[in-house]
């Protein structure tokens, strides 16, 4: 029972961690980034490289966000900048980007799974059952990230400026806010969060070129259900979708769990739309 609850919480947390980078980018800039899954994938491969270099795997939790953030920074002026405010184009263009990144990863790293060791093999014993400590760590990481982003949003000037840009970019511009820089910064921040998610998830799922796809749809569903620009909304959505998936996975099957997640997402969005 306790194991079950912790597993559910851990699944919810993992979904939240994967989706938060997407939520930030989408919320502030309105850019649909279908390459979000690939940013996660790049973070996972950063872990692989860190391990190959002989460094302890927990270092990847710092290296990965930096690396992916850097890649986003490089891509901003040549690619993302042309997509702000253009929905259909950004869907297609970032889909193209994701194809390119997937293929590039396959060429560089090969198509197979590359496993990444856990930073810790510790387990905790709760009421005579053993749970992987790492999975429980996910819950803490989700809380830290969620509260951290919320803190930035509500308590820092940067967050206030980002919210202003999200609310009315034109007005913010006339007040002297360099919205180009805000957009670029948000992109890098969101990408870094995705990279962090990738590094954290790598030991759980192993790194493989198409891993991004399985996170992409779930992350988007979480963001769409939770509502644009709302971090608490994302938490709620992650809760609903993640727990549905995990519960169905435990009682029936992981595959039907994924199906259940999509069905619940469809129902929630439809219901919210007509409310």
């Amino acid at each position: 029972m306790v194991l079950g609850i912790l597993n559910v919480l851990s699944a919810v947390s993992l979904l939240f961690i994967a989706a938060v980078g997407l939520a930030v980018i989408f919320g502030v800039m309105g850019v649909v980034n279908l390459a979000h899954g690939e940013f996660i994938m790049l973070g996972a491969y950063a872990s692989v490289i860190v391990v190959k270099l002989g460094l302890p795997v927990s270092v990847s939790l710092i290296v990965a966000p930096l690396a992916v953030g850097m890649i986003a920074l490089l891509l901003e002026p040549i690619f993302f900048r042309y997509l702000y405010g253009r929905v259909m184009e950004s869907i297609l263009a970032t889909w193209g980007l994701s194809i390119v990144l997937r293929q590039a990863a396959q060429l560089i790293f090969g198509a197979g799974y590359q496993s990444v060791p856990y930073p810790t093999d510790a387990t905790i014993t709760v009421l005579t059952t053993q749970i992987s400590f790492y999975r429980v760590l996910a819950i803490f990481l989700a809380l830290v990230i969620g509260l951290g982003v919320l803190w930035i949003e509500k308590r820092t000037n940067l967050g206030t400026t980002a919210r202003a840009v999200m609310s009315n970019a034109g007005l913010a511009s006339t007040l002297g806010v360099n919205i180009g820089r805000i957009y670029a910064g948000t992109l890098v921040f969101g990408a870094a969060l995705a990279g962090l998610a990738g590094a954290f998830l790598a030991p759980l799922t192993s790194a493989y070129p198409s891993m991004g796809l399985s996170f992409l749809t779930n992350s988007f569903f979480a963001v769409l259900v939770g509502g644009l620009g709302s971090l608490p909304g994302l938490a709620f959505a992650s809760g609903m979708l993640g727990s549905t998936q995990q519960i169905v996975a435990i009682f029936i099957d992981p595959v039907w769990g994924s199906v259940a997640l999509v069905i619940v997402a469809l129902i929630l969005v439809r219901w919210r739309g007509t409310a």
Binding site: V32, L34, R81, Y82, V87, M88, E89, I91, L92, A93, W95, G96, L97, I99, V100, R102, Q103, A104, Q106, L107, S210, L213, S214, L216, T217, F220, F221, L224, D253, V255, W256, S258, V259, V262, L266, I267, V269, R270, W271, R272, G273, T274
Partner: protein, 591 residues
């Protein structure tokens, strides 16, 4: 940060389904038909045949995407579902009927899945992103389910040994598949060239305007989506016996992604583009993939990204860039008696609406009647356009009622409100810019969607009042001009004509004279007065120009800070202190 002007060849797709597209398709079919004469049999039956089947998939995708704007990122799910349905029935059921039943199932099952998914996607609050994500998840889920029930589907290894066609000669199969492709081309071309196709493109480019002319756009999109899924399933049904085995990859994202790439490169929104794109890529792929393993996919991805950003109309946009020939529109009289209501009222009662912490409408009461020329004035930001949005179903009030002719109307979608007899124009005149004026008028006049499938007419049925306005504006001589090329004033005239063509009982006009010259303004005033006096229309004008209002209105209401502060005859209200304060400035010191 602007891309070169080449992009301005907007993917307005325009109805390029004329000679250029049909011609290109004929050429392609001719080439394919004669191919066995000049390529090896292996090439024809292995590579070309496969390419033709995938071209059908591309056509199916384009029907949804290019023609109707539904970005289905996971369309191969329907193809794979069709292939598996055919395979499973053919393998598990020992009967002469098996292939036929399998074929039918292969078309019906994907269509059904599409209909169910579409019901979630298109109704309620929707967006291209939502559609993209939901359709993206289909192949992912189907793939996963496929692996979960290997007894039925063969799991990773798939199903093999599917009985092939009842003949030994491979070239017969080739020509059968060519025939299948031709059938698909004919179906898609038929749809797009019919009046239904005109409607689809209007919905694709300006869904909101279509809804506000009474079309049930979510249902339309559902229909097309299901149709395109069925078409993809049809291709899958043929693939199974042709290939002999079906594998897991048919359901996956790789095939879906490739289909999007073919359509984008070939040219979406045209019937020839997707066929050309699919054939081209699938013919080149085996050779290039062998020559540059791995790099080919990367390269294709790059080409796709570049095409999407720089060349939205694809290759066909470059090649087939001539404008379609003129249609030769003909205006005829509308059958009399469509305007059934003589007297009708629209009443807004105690409306309240807030956007977050901003209260926009507050306990608002207003009544509009037929046979009256009623004006609504008020300062900027007072909520006039928002009020119109609520009455016509574009926004929902948080409290209050809308009553149309005695019946509740507060939760109705815009197209139903149109059917009740209430129509509107938009402040920034909203017309179908990628269509000709004649098409715009046609779409305004006609409303039964499915009937349009069977006709392709150049006649526009217009009532007397609409024809008069059309002549007055000079637009009757410009029926072949694209609406996007019209100037500001002409666009306002067009929108007015369109609304009149639809024969509503009550029209709400949002700033009809903004930006018009004084001559046009006077003309519009005369027209509006005659519409009310001679045709008993009910008009509500949202206006700024107090002089114009005084010259034509019978009744005047003033909206300020979310509520009606004055309402009555023009004489009484126009001279009241409220109006003076709002409009003429505080010319009397109030300190």
């Amino acid at each position: 940060m602007s891309w070169p002007p080449g992009i301005a060849i907007a993917h307005s797709g325009i109805d390029r389904l004329r000679l250029t597209s049909v011609g290109a398709n004929c050429l392609i079919v001719a080439l394919l038909a004669s191919a066995p004469l000049w390529v090896s049999q292996y090439f024809a039956t292995d590579i070309l045949a496969r390419a033709m089947l995938l071209a059908i998939l591309a056509l199916a995708l384009d029907l949804a995407w290019g023609c109707c704007g539904i970005l289905s990122l996971g369309h191969s799910a329907f193809f794979g579902l069709g292939a598996y349905a055919m395979a499973i029935v053919a393998l598990r059921w020992d009967s002469g009927l098996a292939p036929y039943v399998g074929f039918v199932l292969a078309i019906l099952l994907p269509a059904l899945l599409a209909a169910v998914v579409g019901w979630f996607m298109f109704f309620g609050v929707t967006s291209s992103l939502y559609v993209a994500i939901v359709t993206l998840s289909l192949p992912v889920l189907l793939s996963a389910i496929d692996l979960r029930i290997p007894k039925l589907t063969g799991g990773l290894t798939g199903l093999s040994g599917i009985p092939s066609f009842p003949w030994a000669e491979p070239l017969y199969t080739y020509y059968l598949l060519l025939g299948a492709l031709m059938l698909a081309i004919v179906i898609v071309t038929w749809i797009v060239r019919s009046d239904f196709g005109r409607l689809l493109m209007a919905v694709r480019d300006n869904e909101e305007r279509a809804r506000f002319f009474g079309y049930n756009t979510p249902a339309l999109r559902l229909f097309i989506f299901a149709l395109s899924a069925g078409l993809a399933g049809y291709a899958g049904a043929l693939y199974a016996p042709y290939n002999g085995f079906v594998s897991h990859g048919l359901l996956g994202l790789v095939l879906s992604t490739s289909a999007i790439v073919w359509v984008a490169i070939g040219g979406r929104g045209t019937a020839a583009g997707p066929v050309a794109g699919a054939l081209l890529v699938n013919i080149l792929e085996p050779t290039l993939n062998a020559a540059f393993p791995g790099f080919w996919q990367l390269f294709l991805g790059l080409i796709f990204t570049v095409v999407v950003l720089l060349l939205p109309s694809g290759l066909f946009g470059l090649v087939g860039s001539r404008r379609p020939p003129r249609r030769g529109f003909q205006i005829i009289d509308a059958p009399p008696g469509r305007r059934t209501r003589d007297r009708m009222t629209v009443a807004a009662r105690k409306l309240n609406l807030s956007f977050g912490s901003l209260a926009v409408l507050h306990e608002l009461n207003l009544e509009i009647e037929t046979g009256k020329l009623h004006c609504l004035i008020g300062p900027n930001g007072a909520g006039k356009s928002t009020l119109v949005d609520v009455i016509t179903g574009r926004l929902r009030a948080s409290a209050g009622d809308i009553v149309i002719d005695g019946a509740q109307a507060a939760f109705l979608p815009p197209n139903v409100i149109v059917h009740r007899g209430v129509m509107r124009t938009f402040q920034a005149s909203n017309v179908f810019e990628t269509q000709r004026i004649g098409d715009n008028l046609f779409l305004a006049a006609c409303r039964r969607e499915l009937a349009l499938l069977t006709q392709s007419t150049n006649q526009i049925a217009m009532p007397v009042d609409a024809r008069r306005v059309l002549q007055l504006s000079g637009l009757d001589r410009k029926l072949d001009t694209f609406a996007g090329e019209l100037g500001h004033g002409e666009r306002k005239w067009l929108e007015l004509c369109m609304v009149l063509t639809a024969q509503p009982a009550i029209i709400i006009l949002d700033e009809p004279t903004a930006g018009l010259s004084s001559i046009d303004r006077a003309n519009v005033g005369e027209v509006l007065i005659s519409l009310v006096r001679e045709h008993s229309l009910g008009l509500l004008l949202i206006e700024h120009d107090l002089d114009f209002v005084k010259s034509i209105a019978e009744r005047l209401s003033v909206l300020s800070q979310g509520t009606i502060v004055a309402d009555g005859s023009v004489q009484a209200v126009a001279e009241s202190p409220v109006v003076r304060q709002i409009y003429l400035g505080h010319t009397n010191a109030h300190e």
